[in-house]
């Protein structure tokens, strides 16, 4: 059942209250509950971008190859361009906007800044979401583990991504109150 405080597509786009529709899809995004009332087969990426205007997740290929659209679904990295909203009913999604704030960065975001990783920056949200996921699975990733990151960066920032993942692993290991505990 839709919860009374959840936002429909129309409310998310414009705050005016709209009566909830039967068949609406309920999903939690960055801790907030939403009701999707549009096309159920709309991929999560377009729901995030065109409906919620959460534009941090990027379109790069639309077929799950490049990873620019990577988000976390129930805490695991997924490529949102291929995930229909209908398959996500009741699930919890975290996007780049939800893993850390400007004044409370996730360790991976912090490391990304310290290593000055971004060039054009377009793929970086996806890269960061993939790296957060990797570090949850492997606290001290090996070279081979890092090489399993398959997100494409057309600018060629891979060597700095490598360094930033290692730095983030250190930050997470030494932090007493890790920001990385989030997500």
């Amino acid at each position: 059942m839709p919860q009374p405080n959840a936002k429909t597509d129309q409310e998310a786009a414009a705050p005016a209250a709209v009566a909830t529709k039967p068949g609406a899809i309920e999903l939690t995004i960055n801790g907030e509950l939403f009701l999707h009332t549009g096309a159920p087969d709309m991929p999560l990426l377009w729901y995030l971008r065109d409906v919620l205007r959460l534009t941090g997740s990027k379109y790069g290929c639309g077929v799950g190859q490049c990873g620019a659209c990577t988000v976390h679904v129930e805490g695991k990295a997924q490529r949102s361009c291929l995930l229909p909203v209908s398959a996500l009913a009741g699930q919890s999604i975290t996007t780049i906007e939800g893993i850390g704030a400007a004044d409370d960065l996730h360790a991976v975001q912090q490391a990304w800044m310290e290593e000055d990783v971004p060039q054009c920056g377009y793929c970086q949200a996806g890269q960061i979401m993939a790296a957060v996921d990797l570090l949850k699975r492997k606290a001290q990733p090996s070279d081979a583990d890092i090489a399993q990151l398959t997100n494409i960066c057309r600018c060629g920032t891979y060597p700095r991504i490598r360094k930033a993942v290692r730095r983030a692993a250190q930050l997470l290991a030494t932090s007493t109150n890790p920001a990385g505990a989030k997500s």
């Binding site: 990027k58 060039q119 600018c155 060597p159």
Partner: protein, 748 residues
């Protein structure tokens, strides 16, 4: 003082003759330039078009360039901050829009050069943006001099403060109101000497990094507008083909689809800069509805004039063309005579494929057209070109067209073409509504302006001492001059064969000729355009000569370069080419890879060097080939771009250029079959991923006092030949055709 006078601002521009003019204009008098909200603030806090000082002494600097990942949003404001003596740690940078306006002397750009191409942003900014900072600082000093009743020369500046001789520090913010009312000096202000630099030459991180890592940075695709419809287009897959018939009945049934209509392609044979292909437009409420609508279209196409074109036929055409006389690009001495007199003649043919740009952010355009004005928001490399395209297609005067450049998800030359801007304008006019045009990845790969395809036939003549006496470079390629109004009078070889490239001018007999191939494939500028394939052919061939004549490949190059001197270089990046600077990066690179050490563990080392757009680069790789698995153990890039403005940025460009070079050389080719582009995804156009890449690129920057060159393109041309040469050293297999991996697998 009247309000208008108080709002005087300085504009700095280059006159037609190149002289620096620091002018004064009254805002709001003759024209109303577009100023971004963040640059507005209170009128009393602005010092010219680029600088604003907030009450809390934070300095806001406008970034005029198109940020495509090359770092101009950081490096160009650094030039202003340096001469302004601003505290860089507290500077905030804001993107400026396109600055076209009608001044007293006709059309001008209030911000100067804004395009991104040819690695010119830093050389251009070096000429005028330092003066912007220096004039603003002069005004603040003058304001302090008036306040303290002291001559200017007794005052100093430091970290956004003016210093009184007694040590009192006054923040710029307390002086800016008075400074804004002072007339700037008529003459150019003296600039700092290098030992006074506090910003230039110091590593600075990307100013937008926080916005990028938190997902807040706005790219073109992140722009939305109330009332805008989303457009996607099904473009004709046949080169210069057209729409025959459309069945849109299923498309129109899809919820959210608003309209479907055909859009004509460009007029065949025209040199107009316009849209690229005919097709069918789907207009919808959102991207997903538009994409679903497009997938449901049933369209039949007229195949057009190139339906028979294929990569195989182009190769055959090149072979045939090379038998002709071609167009002489640079011919000296007599290569035929040298061939007859030679003890030995070596020949080799190299082939390079078409390449797509594959920017991570595909083309996108958001446009709103009204009867008397237009607004464009998106990622560009040539805002002036976009402005002309919009003016041509709408009939609006250019000063009525507002262009807001966003960060671009990559450029690599793709956005020097404004076909997607033209498309969006055509669609918006037909739709009668603002339009957000989206391109999908397959649109992008199948409808690009590709790096030219070419076959390069190289010849070397050698005397009995194995000295080079002659060098021939025949290039049969699809000219880059393709439907570009600005290029219609250019030589056919431009963008394919550079007359003065190494080793021109270094041996007595030279024969460089161009052979134009006919093709329907659109061509354009791709990062370090001709240099990528030029360097591959020449630097591979030099390595072959060294192997064949049992000479050291570094020593051979150094002997050719000879003593350090400047040679004429007419192409972009000239007017001079310094043989000593190329020799220096090569020598340093050889040392860094330990060139002389014999490898016995199956590893091979390869090296190459090249001059691109005023920058000198050398690459060396240490590789091994195990079965079909190529491993890059070490990657070294040595670079001399003159004085370095942002060392961290130059390091990023060289690292990125090297990785881009590896990815492209190993994997990438666009091919054509039956008049259609074959590749359509990252599956068949496999941009390199982490696992294929060296863990590190060791970048070495040569300290230099020379005028700064740019850095966006120099890091790529010497990659492919150094890699192919390393593979030869490891395997004795010579790769003469790009991309490397399929060719290596064929040869092994």
């Amino acid at each position: 003082m009247s309000g208008i006078n108080r709002r005087q601002f300085i504009s700095v521009m280059l006159s037609a003759g190149g002289a620096l003019i620091v002018g004064m204009r009254a805002a709001g008098a003759a024209f109303k330039p577009t100023v971004p909200i963040d640059m507005l603030g209170e009128p009393l806090t602005s010092l010219g078009a680029f600088v604003r000082i907030e009450r809390n002494n934070r300095i806001v600097i406008g970034a005029r360039g198109c940020e495509i990942g090359q770092g101009v949003m950081t490096s160009l404001p650094m030039l202003i901050a340096e001469e302004l003596d601003a505290d860089w740690a507290r500077v905030r940078v804001e993107q400026l829009p396109y600055g076209y306006e009608i001044g007293p002397d006709g059309p001008t750009n209030r911000y100067g050069a804004q395009g991104a191409g040819g690695s010119t942003s830093i050389p251009d900014g070096w000429k005028d943006l330092r003066q912007v900072g220096a004039v603003a600082r002069w005004l603040l000093l003058e304001a302090a001099a008036q306040h303290w009743q002291l001559p200017q020369d007794r005052l100093k500046t430091e970290s956004s403060h003016v210093l009184h001789p007694d040590g009192t520090r006054m923040p710029y913010a307390e002086l800016v109101e008075r400074a804004a009312a002072i007339l700037p000096p008529a003459e150019a202000v003296a600039l700092k000497t290098p030992e006074q630099y506090r910003v230039i030459g110091k590593p600075a991180r990307t100013v937008d990094a926080l916005a990028i890592v938190t997902g807040k940075a706005a790219f073109g695709i992140d722009s939305y507008m109330g009332g805008a419809l989303t457009a996607v287009m099904l473009r004709c897959p046949y080169l210069d083909g057209s729409v025959d018939s459309i069945d849109d009945s299923d498309t129109r049934k899809i919820a959210g689809v608003r309209d479907v209509f055909a859009l004509p392609g460009p007029v065949l044979g025209s040199s107009l800069d316009t849209n690229l292909a005919a097709g069918v437009v789907v207009l919808a409420d959102n991207t997903w509805a538009a994409l679903k609508g497009r997938a449901a279209l049933k369209v039949s196409w007229k195949q057009g004039p190139w339906a028979e074109e294929s990569s195989a036929k182009l190769e055959a055409q090149a072979t045939e063309a090379l038998k002709g006389a071609g167009i002489a690009v640079r011919v000296e001495g007599d290569l035929d005579k040298a061939r007859k007199a030679a003890k030995r003649t070596l020949e080799a043919k190299y082939q390079v494929p078409f390449l797509a740009h594959a920017t991570m952010e595909p083309p996108h355009a958001l446009i709103k057209i009204e009867p008397d004005r237009a607004l464009f928001i998106g990622a560009l490399q040539s805002p002036s070109g976009a402005s002309r395209v919009i003016a041509d297609l709408t009939g609006l005067a250019r000063e009525k067209i507002e262009i807001r450049m966003t960060r671009a998800g990559g450029g690599f030359g793709r956005r020097l073409k404004n076909d997607y801007v033209a498309e969006a304008v055509m669609i918006a006019k037909k739709a009668g509504a603002p339009v957000k045009l989206m391109w999908s990845r397959d649109d992008d790969l199948r409808h690009d302006f590709y790096r030219p395809f070419g076959v390069h036939q190289l010849t070397a003549t050698l005397d009995k001492k194995n000295q080079l006496t002659g060098f021939g470079h025949l290039c049969a390629a699809t000219p880059v001059n393709y439907r570009n109004a600005g290029m219609k009078d250019e030589a056919a070889g431009i963008g394919c064969l550079e007359p003065d490239d190494f080793p021109a001018g270094l041996l007595p007999n030279l024969d460089k000729r161009f052979f134009a191939l006919e093709s329907g494939m659109p061509r354009g500028w791709w990062r370090a355009p001709l240099h990528t394939f030029h360097a591959f052919a020449v630097q591979s061939f030099i390595d072959e000569i060294a192997v064949e004549t049992k000479q050291d490949a570094v020593a051979l190059r150094l002997a050719l370069l000879g003593e350090a001197r400047e040679l004429d270089y007419k192409g972009h990046g000239g007017p001079k080419f310094d043989t000593g600077r190329l020799a220096a990066v090569l020598t340093r690179c050889a040392e860094a890879i330990d060139w002389k050490r014999k490898r016995s563990d199956g590893r091979g080392v390869g090296i190459a060097c090249h001059f691109t757009f005023g920058g000198y680069a050398a690459h060396a790789f240490e590789v091994s080939v195990d079965g079909r698995d190529l491993r890059i153990h070490r990657a070294i890039c040595v670079i001399d771009v003159g004085r370095v403005v942002n060392p961290l940025g130059v390091d990023a460009m060289m690292m990125g250029g090297t990785i881009d070079g590896i990815s492209t050389a190993l994997n990438l080719a666009i091919t054509v079959k039956e008049g259609q582009v074959v590749q359509g995804s990252f599956g068949d156009y496999a941009v390199g991923r982490m696992a294929q890449m060296p863990h590190e690129v060791e970048v070495i920057q040569i300290a230099s006092e020379k005028e700064p060159a740019g850095a966006g393109e120099m890091g790529i041309p010497s990659v492919a030949p150094a890699l192919a040469n390393a593979i030869y050293a490891a395997t004795t297999v010579r790769v003469r055709r790009l991309p490397i991996l399929p060719e290596l697998n064929r040869l092994l």
